[in-house]
C-alpha cells in the first residue's frame, strides 16, 4: 500500500488528468454543437425565404369550388368552344344515310351550346371540359341508330380532338361520358331545328 504522500500525489495526478479529459470533452462537444446550432439558425432563417407550398395551401387547392369559380370555368368553356372547326352530322333513317358538314364556327358553337346546356345539367364541369376523344364510340352508336334511326353529331376542334353525341328519338347520348339524357319535347325540337334547319 502507498504511504500518505504517494496517495496524495496520486489523487492530484488523477484529478489533473480527469480535469484535462473533462475540458477536452467539453471542447469536442462545443466543436460539434456550434456548427450544428449555426446550421440550424441558418436553416431557420432561409426556409421561410424559399418558395414553399404548405400542406394547407395544397388543401385549399383541393377545396370545393365556389360559385364564382364555376362561372369562371363556364366562361373558359365558352372560349374553348370558339376553337371548333368542323361539325359532321350523320342522319340515319332505316337503311339510308345522309351526311352534313358544317364549317361555320358560329353555327357550330350554336349547336354545341345547345348540346352543352343539356349535358352540363347531368355531368360535372370538369368532365365537360375534358378532352374530345372517343372515336370508337361512334361505331357502337351507328349500330344502334341503324335500327332506330337518328343523328350522330361529331364536333372536331382545331387541335384534332373529337367529341361525339348521338340523338335517337328523344334520347341524347354523350359517348365520352357514356350517359343518356331524355330530352323534353321543347329541347328536342330546338335541337333538331338547329341540326336540320341551320345545317342545310
Amino acid at each position: 500500500m502507498r504511504n500518505f504522500e504517494e496517495r496524495k500525489a496520486e489523487i492530484f495526478l488523477r484529478s489533473e488528468k480527469r480535469i484535462k479529459l473533462k475540458k477536452r470533452k467539453r471542447r469536442q462537444l462545443l466543436a460539434f454543437c456550434i456548427p450544428v446550432c449555426l446550421l440550424g439558425i441558418v436553416s431557420i432563417a432561409l426556409i421561410p425565404a424559399l418558395p414553399f407550398v404548405s400542406d394547407d395551401a395544397a388543401y385549399e387547392n383541393n377545396a370545393p369550388v365556389s360559385d364564382d369559380e364555376v362561372i369562371a370555368d363556364e366562361d373558359a368553356l365558352t372560349e374553348n368552344a370558339q376553337d371548333f372547326v368542323l361539325l359532321e352530322i350523320k342522319e340515319l333513317s332505316g337503311q339510308s344515310q345522309q351526311y352534313y358538314t358544317i364549317t361555320d364556327t358560329k353555327q357550330i358553337n350554336d349547336i354545341f351550346t345547345k348540346l352543352d346546356a343539356i349535358v352540363s345539367s347531368y355531368v360535372s364541369l370538369d368532365d365537360i371540359s375534358g378532352e374530345f376523344s372517343d372515336s370508337s364510340a361512334e361505331d357502337t352508336q351507328s349500330n344502334t341508330l341503324k335500327n332506330k334511326g337518328g343523328y350522330i353529331i361529331t364536333i372536331t376542334s382545331s387541335d384534332g380532338s373529337e367529341r361525339t353525341f348521338s340523338l335517337t328519338d328523344n334520347i341524347l347520348s354523350d359517348s365520352r361520358h357514356n350517359i343518356e339524357i331524355k330530352l323534353s319535347a321543347a329541347q328536342l325540337t330546338e335541337l333538331k331545328s338547329a341540326l336540320r334547319g341551320d345545317s342545310k
Partner: protein, 183 residues
C-alpha cells in the same frame, strides 16, 4: 465533529492543507469500507484514490447537506460496485504485491479496529451477507447514524434497521456467549 465538511470548506477556499486533514481522517476508513465490497485491499485503495479525486475534480458537487464522510462513502460504494461489475474474471497481481496484501489488511485493521471488541465482530462478519456486513460496518465501525447508513447503502431507514436486526441475530449465533456481551 463535522466529519470533514469544515475541512473541505477550507479546501474550497484555497487552503491546500485542509485536504491533508480530510485524507488523514477519512482515507483509511474509506479503503476499509470499500474492501468490504471488493475484497481486494489494493483495488480498494485505488478506488478510494479515485473517490478522493472526485472531491478535487467536481468541487461544487458536494452540497454540504450530508456529512463529507457520508458523501465519500456513497461515492466509494458506487465506485466499488462499478468496479465489481467491470472486474475481469482473472485478476492479475504482482507476487510482491500479493505477499504484502495480508500485511496491508492487518495493518489497516489495526488502524481502524483499535479495540478488541470490533476485531472480534469483524472476524465474524465474513459469514454474513454483503448487505448485513456493510450495515454493521457503517453503524458499528464508522458510527454513522441509521439515516446516514441508509443514504450510503441507498436503502431506507427501515431496511437498514431490519438488516441490523438480522445481522445481530446471526452474529449472536456465530459468536455464542461472547457475542451476547459484544453486541
Amino acid at each position: 465533529m463535522d466529519n470533514g465538511a469544515g475541512s473541505y470548506r477550507r479546501f474550497l477556499d484555497g487552503d491546500e492543507s485542509a485536504f491533508d486533514d480530510i485524507m488523514k481522517e477519512l482515507f483509511d476508513k474509506l479503503v476499509f469500507f470499500i474492501d468490504r465490497y471488493v475484497h481486494d485491499i489494493h483495488a480498494a485503495e485505488d478506488i478510494a484514490i479515485d473517490t478522493f479525486s472526485d472531491l478535487v475534480v467536481n468541487k461544487h458537487r458536494y452540497n454540504f447537506k450530508v456529512t463529507l464522510k457520508t458523501y465519500l462513502f456513497m461515492i466509494g460504494r458506487s465506485r466499488a460496485l462499478n468496479y465489481i461489475k467491470h472486474r475481469k474474471r482473472i485478476d492479475f497481481a504482482e507476487l510482491s504485491e500479493a505477499d504484502n496484501t495480508e500485511d496491508d489488511i492487518h495493518s489497516l485493521e489495526e488502524i481502524i479496529l483499535a479495540d478488541e471488541r470490533k476485531r472480534i465482530i469483524n472476524n465474524a462478519l465474513e459469514s454474513l451477507s454483503e448487505d448485513m456486513r456493510v450495515a454493521i460496518h457503517l453503524i458499528y465501525f464508522e458510527n454513522l447514524s441509521y439515516d446516514e447508513a441508509a443514504k450510503v447503502m441507498k436503502k431506507n431507514r427501515k431496511q437498514v434497521d431490519n438488516l441490523l436486526y438480522r445481522a445481530k441475530k446471526e452474529l449472536r449465533i456465530i459468536l455464542g456467549k461472547d457475542g451476547e456481551l459484544l453486541l
